[in-house]
């Protein structure tokens, strides 16, 4: 066992530090980079698929969308006006709360 201890002591020269933030950071940076690339590839694929499907279906979708949009136009305008009013009133209240208005 003395021989084994001797070998172990000599092998200990090769031992990296128990904690090496530089190494761990390099690994994790590469992991995140690859994950990002996978996400980008996935999103690109989904977008391309969606675009192709829309292009293929557009001739049949277009008449339906025109009809729907004509029917919904008043409701959309009313909704947009309501949202604009809320945003304006909320903005003024916020200004008052912040003391920007006298």
């Amino acid at each position: 066992m003395v021989d084994d201890d001797r070998l172990k002591a000599l092998f200990a020269y090769d031992e990296p530090p128990p904690r090496d933030p530089a190494f761990s950071s390099a690994v994790m940076a590469e992991v995140m980079r690859r994950r990002f690339m996978v996400d980008v590839a996935l999103l690109s694929g989904v977008s391309a698929l969606g675009g192709t499907a829309l292009w293929a279906l557009w001739p049949s979708l277009q008449p339906a969308l025109v009809t729907i949009s004509q029917g919904l136009a008043p409701a959309i305008v009313a909704g947009a006006l309501a949202m604009g009013a809320v945003a304006l009133l909320g903005g003024r209240q916020a200004s008052a709360l912040l003391g920007l208005e006298s």
């Binding site: 172990k8 000599l10 990296p16 128990p18 190494f23 761990s24 690994v27």
Partner: protein, 178 residues
């Protein structure tokens, strides 16, 4: 929590997609993997490159790791395969002795000669034997854990360790391990 229990929890979290958990696994096992690869390939810079590739491969394969399996043996197994692939492909064809001299800190002190003799003897061991010695004698792997990591039969690992130990001790001028 025991180290094995903590590993298991971290693996489960990493399998669920947690990069934080995987980062902790890297921190916990980088020393073992890098030390093994340094001893297996003898080139510190290449060993660190291979260790990085090992962890990247581990991240993409973490879903395949079975519950309760030894993480360090699994990682060393991936690292060993990376090392063998690199050697076969010749992409990282560097001369071992040259890189030993260039990359590592020069061993000094009373054991410098022994260390150099050990390095030379390790370099002369056959690939599998060197890997078995690196795991079982230098890193306290059990024979069965090393067999799992290297994908070798248990008897072969035992025999490699015994022969490798004898050759190393012989090179160090001591008894041959019998």
């Amino acid at each position: 929590m025991s180290p094995a229990g903590l590993d298991e929890a971290l693996v489960a979290a990493a399998q669920a997609g947690s990069t934080d958990a995987f980062s902790r696994l890297v921190e916990r096992h980088q020393q073992a993997v890098r030390a093994f690869l340094r001893r297996a390939c003898g080139d510190w810079a290449q060993a660190d490159d291979l260790a990085q590739e090992t962890f990247l491969a581990a991240w993409s394969r973490i879903g395949r790791l079975k519950a309760g399996a030894s993480v360090r043996a699994w990682l060393c197994g991936i690292g060993y395969n990376k090392h063998l692939t690199a050697r076969r492909s010749g992409v990282r064809d560097r001369i071992r002795d040259e890189s030993y001299e260039a990359d590592r800190e020069t061993a000094c002190g009373p054991h410098a000669a022994d260390k150099m003799a050990l390095e030379a003897a390790m370099g002369e061991l056959p690939e599998e034997q060197r890997a078995c010695v690196a795991l079982c004698l230098a890193a306290d792997f059990s024979h069965s854990e090393a067999a799992d990591a290297l994908g070798l039969p248990l008897g072969t690992v035992k025999s490699h360790v015994t022969r490798g130990r004898a050759r190393l001790l012989q090179a160090l001028g001591g008894p041959d391990g019998r």
